[in-house]
């Protein structure tokens, strides 16, 4: 069985890989995992020796099929656990990430299947991130549209929150925006970078960089 360290490393590579071709730099992994660059190099060589990824020295790292499958299973656990914590245990969706970070390594396939059934086989987690299927292990296409790039005045639905840092989740919680919310961009000022949105419960004002972190889809 892979250790939780190994699972965390592979997951970090997965969520930072745009496509199957691209490599992820060791520096980015060091940053993401909160360890020194030397540690990444050491670990990456060990993971490569185990056939979980390819190390292209001074270039970066790419998952093998096996490594990707393992990482995807971890992501699936993480997102189902988050969904459970929010929907069943009624926890705040801005505090579940940390809990899931530990639980994703302790949940067996058997328990996972039960949770998934209890939740009605959800397609996305509380942040709007897609849950890779049990059999169809594929990751997010993503509409690519955000509040910063969408057509103004059209009816939109918030799909997912791209930035899941604590301060940003805190911020949008106050605006009332969350996955599933209906919104329409009222006005977007190129110069000042202000985006004003109308939503069911009132109005929200955010800056352009913030608007870019909220993925939407036309309805």
């Amino acid at each position: 069985m892979p250790t939780s360290t190994v699972e965390n490393y592979l997951k970090a590579v997965l969520v930072r890989s745009a496509d199957t071709e691209s490599v992820v730099s060791t520096g980015a992994l060091a940053e993401a995992l909160g360890v020194t660059p030397g540690t990444i190099t050491t670990m990456v060589k060990s993971l490569a020796a185990q056939g979980l990824l390819e190390h292209h020295p001074r270039e970066g790292v790419r998952l093998t099929r096996e490594g990707r499958a393992l990482a995807m299973a971890v992501v699936r656990k993480h997102r189902i656990v988050e969904t459970f914590l929010v929907q069943v245990l009624k926890m705040d969706w801005k505090e579940v990430h940390g809990e899931a970070e530990a639980l994703e390594h302790a949940i067996s396939e058997r328990v996972l299947a039960r949770l998934d059934a209890l939740l009605g086989h959800p397609a996305s987690d509380p942040h709007g991130d897609p849950i890779p299927g049990a059999k169809s292990p594929q990751l997010d296409p993503g509409s690519g549209q955000t509040l910063a790039t969408c057509e103004p005045q059209t009816q939109l639905r918030v799909e997912r929150i791209l930035d899941q840092s604590a301060p940003f989740l805190e911020f949008i919680q106050r605006t009332g925006l969350k996955p599933g919310s209906r919104v329409r961009v009222r006005e977007r000022d190129r110069a000042s970078g202000v985006v004003r949105c109308e939503l069911r419960t009132g109005e929200a004002t955010l800056g352009l960089p913030e608007a870019a972190k909220i993925e939407v889809r036309a309805t």
Copy 2:
């Protein structure tokens, strides 16, 4: 934060300590934890250095207040998780122990409190083992009566299953006996060691050693 290894060691000491006075032998711990005796000696010295237990060389080991509190918290998590797995996820009560063995180290106090509330603050787990309270951290008094020692012909209630090995759980599952079951001992043959019990759904026959592993209380 203590590692899960430390938590498992302390828990193993706790559940093998009759009272606060008695010591647990390192050999018993090696057996229980599935490691060599030398490993226990090494770890025990390290735990003693951390103030979690006292090591009396060649005698045994005793938890400190701090070590006992930590171990009790782990037992509480273990038993609440088991209860959750059975009551909410409808898992088989003979397969939840292994799952809880891992989850007990990954559940935060916050999640624990939510689970506890969801379950209605249960007093005992699916095997009948008492759940130490959040504030009143105390462990099982236990009636001490078993199907092997109780008064025959009286109305009894199964309190807990003392032997939780897979084969025994498998066995009593077939008999229909489980915590909460009503039973009456019909006949107990000293010579052959056969104990015949009457229960709601029929009759169960077990050997004396098996009967000793089922704790009951008069109703």
